[in-house]
Symmetry: C2
Subunit: 244 residues, 2 copies
């Protein structure tokens, strides 16, 4: 059974301010829940129509499909909904390549970027305070479990970049150097910008190298690459240069 207070808690976690206040976030669907259960994230409570998760019986509530439908945010509710504790990350691990996002707003883009960081072995992702919250359910869903493996930190990004001395700072700009021929040091932070406006002026002034993915077609009015596909190409290119 789901109690009224549990429904209230789950509904409140749709909002970032409540997630931050409670230190909790929601994961839906069998695969997503299994991925997070296997990680070192701590389970708060689990609501499921099928007793298949074999873990923490004291925090597992078997519920009906009608009840699941009531608490689910998915068009088609899937087997279960779990609440996990947002991990507290004190220390920022800066080693090798780090990605930083300056105002990325679309949950799908952030989810894809987290998944790409996971694939390309980027352990730390820095996000400006106006980047969409990574514990937003659409982001969590889009990461396909990668959210448990990439360490994500929200921060005053301009201040952080200004004070950091260990890493080289690069960013993507239309007028930047060709990514295929430009060299980037092993310890670098690469900044990617907002979907509509790119990198903010404040961060532009802190970047030591501007890089660009060249366009190979002649069309003049082609839209510049989406931030998630640009991240895919940059990470691929960085790892290729390092390894092959």
């Amino acid at each position: 059974m789901v109690s009224k207070s549990q429904i209230k808690l789950i509904t409140s976690l749709e909002q970032k301010k409540h997630r931050t206040k409670m230190g909790l976030f929601v994961v839906e669907g069998k695969k997503g829940i299994e991925e997070v259960l296997e990680s070192n994230f701590e389970l708060h409570s689990l609501f499921t129509t099928q007793d298949i998760f074999n873990t923490y019986p004291d925090r597992t509530h078997i519920i009906s499909e009608v009840e699941l439908k009531k608490i689910s945010r998915l068009k088609t509710a899937q087997i279960g909904l779990a609440i996990f504790k947002i991990p507290f990350r004190n220390e920022i691990k800066l080693e090798g390549l780090v990605i930083a996002l300056d105002g990325v707003r679309d949950p799908g883009n952030l989810g894809t970027i987290i998944r790409l960081c996971d694939w390309f072995g980027v352990e730390t992702l820095l996000c400006s305070l106006d980047t969409v919250d990574c514990y937003n359910s659409k982001v969590v869903q889009a990461t396909m479990g990668s959210i448990t493996r990439v360490k994500i930190h929200y921060m005053d990004l301009p201040l952080f970049l200004k004070e950091n001395n260990s890493h080289f700072k690069a960013g993507t700009f239309l007028e930047g150097e060709n990514v295929y021929s430009s060299e980037i040091p092993k310890n670098s932070i690469i900044v990617l910008g907002n979907e509509a406006n790119g990198i903010s002026a404040k961060i532009e002034s802190l970047v030591e190298k501007k890089i660009n993915i060249p366009q190979f077609s002649m069309a003049e009015n082609t839209e510049s690459l989406n931030v998630a596909t640009a991240t895919a190409i940059l990470l691929s290119e960085y790892r290729r240069k390092e390894n092959y």
Copy 2:
């Protein structure tokens, strides 16, 4: 004013069978409409709340915001909705690199892939018959105008690949050769597969080389790359090898 029969036509074009039968598709929003108006696609009719498009007054209908809201499929209707004729493409231009999709189902993925083809100068995109329709409004929206520049053909893809002699056939598979070190001829068709199941067995048997984007992290349960990000990396890598 929008007549009842016009509303009926616009609504019917949400379905692929009607788009195919009528040879028409819908574009919404100022930017999207302008992009298609500037191309060689032919306008059928334009419904707008602001007379800003300066073109084809005989096919332009000034309507109220209430009327636009009635015919729009967007959450927030934007300035106008246009109907264009689907271009008839008789001949398939096979020159240089060609991308082929085997059962890509997600409109956002197809839209991103069309946009990537445009950026990387891939003129021809082949789609299996079970790939999502490129004139689906979500796809059109996601291409950001690139749909007017990339030539897209739906076909019996296994048959086409079997009968084609001009191009080398490659495809992405988990057990494939490392994309960074594998060579692909100038005239190649690269096949990408369905989101859940990859490339079908029928097409697998026709592929001459299997390629793969290696994973750079140690995590064992990382999801394989999404088809759109995989396309981004493949196209980037192909053009890099060719040009740098």
